[in-house]
Subunit: 303 residues, 2 copies
């Protein structure tokens, strides 16, 4: 089995994870979580989101979170921005890396950011230009790259065209998202194989939700197509408030454990992740979907 | 991605699943479960276990279960036997297919059946001869083929030698078991690649527990090495009473859904599996690890 020697993990728990919690999580708890993640060896994370507080009230304290956290010189902190206005707010708050998002499916994009897909793409063209001028790192998410909760399976061709268009704008990273966790390993392999064939200049990251429990199998499929960067969420936190039925991301600790077991380096310390999990557990009433902490609990009970 | 067109699923929930339930499940409930599984399109299942009731009291009604179920002419019902005595009891009860089990790890085997690995192998040599003479189907499980809860990682060489020895006896099927669910996809691919290279006459089946959530990724890895038969357990029931910390098998409904999504035939009806899940849920106090029924529940709540 041919596998990469090293993989990069992007932690999205503080943003994609927490935004799904209905009850507001106090700012100091969010800061505690991010500061704990700082100690794990993770090099990149989505720390906040500049979305309208009416739509995602959980993220209304983005400014306070970014001001309150310890900024490790080794870690890149990214903020999600849904539109040009969010981008402006992010810059006002000193953000150096933005995470733009547009849906490959028009219906999803309208539901997610109240614009057509084309409006989002045009809207972001100017954002990308400005960001490049200001040396802001540009991560560009293509949501619903496999399936849309409203339209069903998404055509590969639409995603490939978006990858080409976005890549031609000179962004740093393109994230291929299985927003509702409905992709299977074959579909995952096929799409990443075609994206790799395009040869984008931007780095390619896979963002795979675990709704049907396929996330690790999909990661394996993507790894074998040469993908070496994955979004994950501590504990498997998350879902999507605008994608009914979606579960959280692949759990960071499970992905890192699987990679390490296969001899792939991540630079992340599993024991440190377990300490962070103790901070995560009281933040949500839902049972975490990640498995590693359950094995620990089970082994502890057997002692 | 090169994948087989068709895969065989062996349902082990009524045996490997239920044996882990501490509270005794009434015989009529076990019969109801098996009769429901009969309606799903499954062609093979482990229906009972002739183990000493002192060790696995849950299986003490094996005789009554086998007498009570509807015997579909399309379904093969197998009974697990841990030793020669269990084999005799199985035959007395009209069993036509036996599932023998020996651990690749000596420590596990001693813990599981109170014999050394070599004693089990010798013990079963006579069983296999008798079974062949009586035209009994012989399924032969190699437990702890990847990891042992007491000894750690198991040497590939030991497993390969056992495969060769057992295959030379003329058994029908050899089952390679990740009893504690600790294998990773790379290890899985490597072991099955080597087993395939031996070219055994017996059919090869993979039995993968989902302790760390790796079962579907491991199934994907095995599929790509040409394995076309998998043990699964409805709802993800199970664990191992003699392997501390192990979770249940890969959930039948999740495996079947993943295979169908990849265009692989199983002959199994997902809707019928969902009906069986309604029978499974009240049998256990534990939350089922399978994902498919949770997505349904979530979608229902959103309506």
């Amino acid at each position: 089995m041919t596998l990469p020697l090293k993989v990069n993990i992007v932690e999205v728990g503080p943003r994609d994870g927490l935004q799904n919690e209905a009850e507001f999580i106090p700012t100091d708890k969010k800061i505690e979580l991010i500061n704990s993640l700082n100690q794990t060896g993770l090099k990149r994370m989505e720390a906040a989101s500049f979305v309208h507080p009416l739509y995602v009230p959980q993220m209304k304290d983005a400014r306070a979170v970014l001001q309150g956290i310890e900024h490790s010189p080794d870690v890149q902190y990214m903020a999600l921005v849904p539109n040009a206005k969010g981008y402006e707010r992010a810059l006002e708050n000193g953000v150096k890396a933005v995470s733009l998002v547009v849906g490959a499916s028009d219906s999803f994009n309208r539901n997610n950011v109240k614009m057509s897909r084309e409006e989002s793409l045009r809207n972001f063209e100017a954002v990308v230009k400005d960001a490049r001028k200001n040396q802001i790192f540009i991560r560009y998410n293509i949501a619903t790259s496999f399936w849309c909760p409203f339209e069903g399976r998404v055509e590969e061709k639409a995603v490939l065209e978006m990858v080409q268009e976005i890549d031609s704008q000179g962004v740093d990273e393109i994230v291929i998202c299985d927003t509702i966790g409905r992709a299977n390993p074959k579909q995952t392999a096929e799409l990443f194989s075609q994206i790799t064939a395009i040869g984008p200049r931007a780095a390619i990251t896979a963002h795979l939700h675990d709704t049907y429990g396929f996330a690790l199998a999909n990661i394996l499929a993507a790894l074998k197509e040469g993908v070496t960067s994955f979004d994950t969420s501590i504990g498997g936190l998350g879902g999507c408030p605008f994608a009914p039925g979606a579960a959280g991301n692949a759990a960071t600790e499970d992905v890192v454990f699987m990679l390490h077991e296969m001899g792939i380096e991540t630079g992340i310390d599993i024991d440190a992740l377990k300490q962070t999990l103790e901070i995560v557990k009281p933040l949500t009433k839902r049972e975490l979907t990640g498995r590693l902490h359950k094995v620990q609990a089970c082994a502890a009970a057997a002692n």
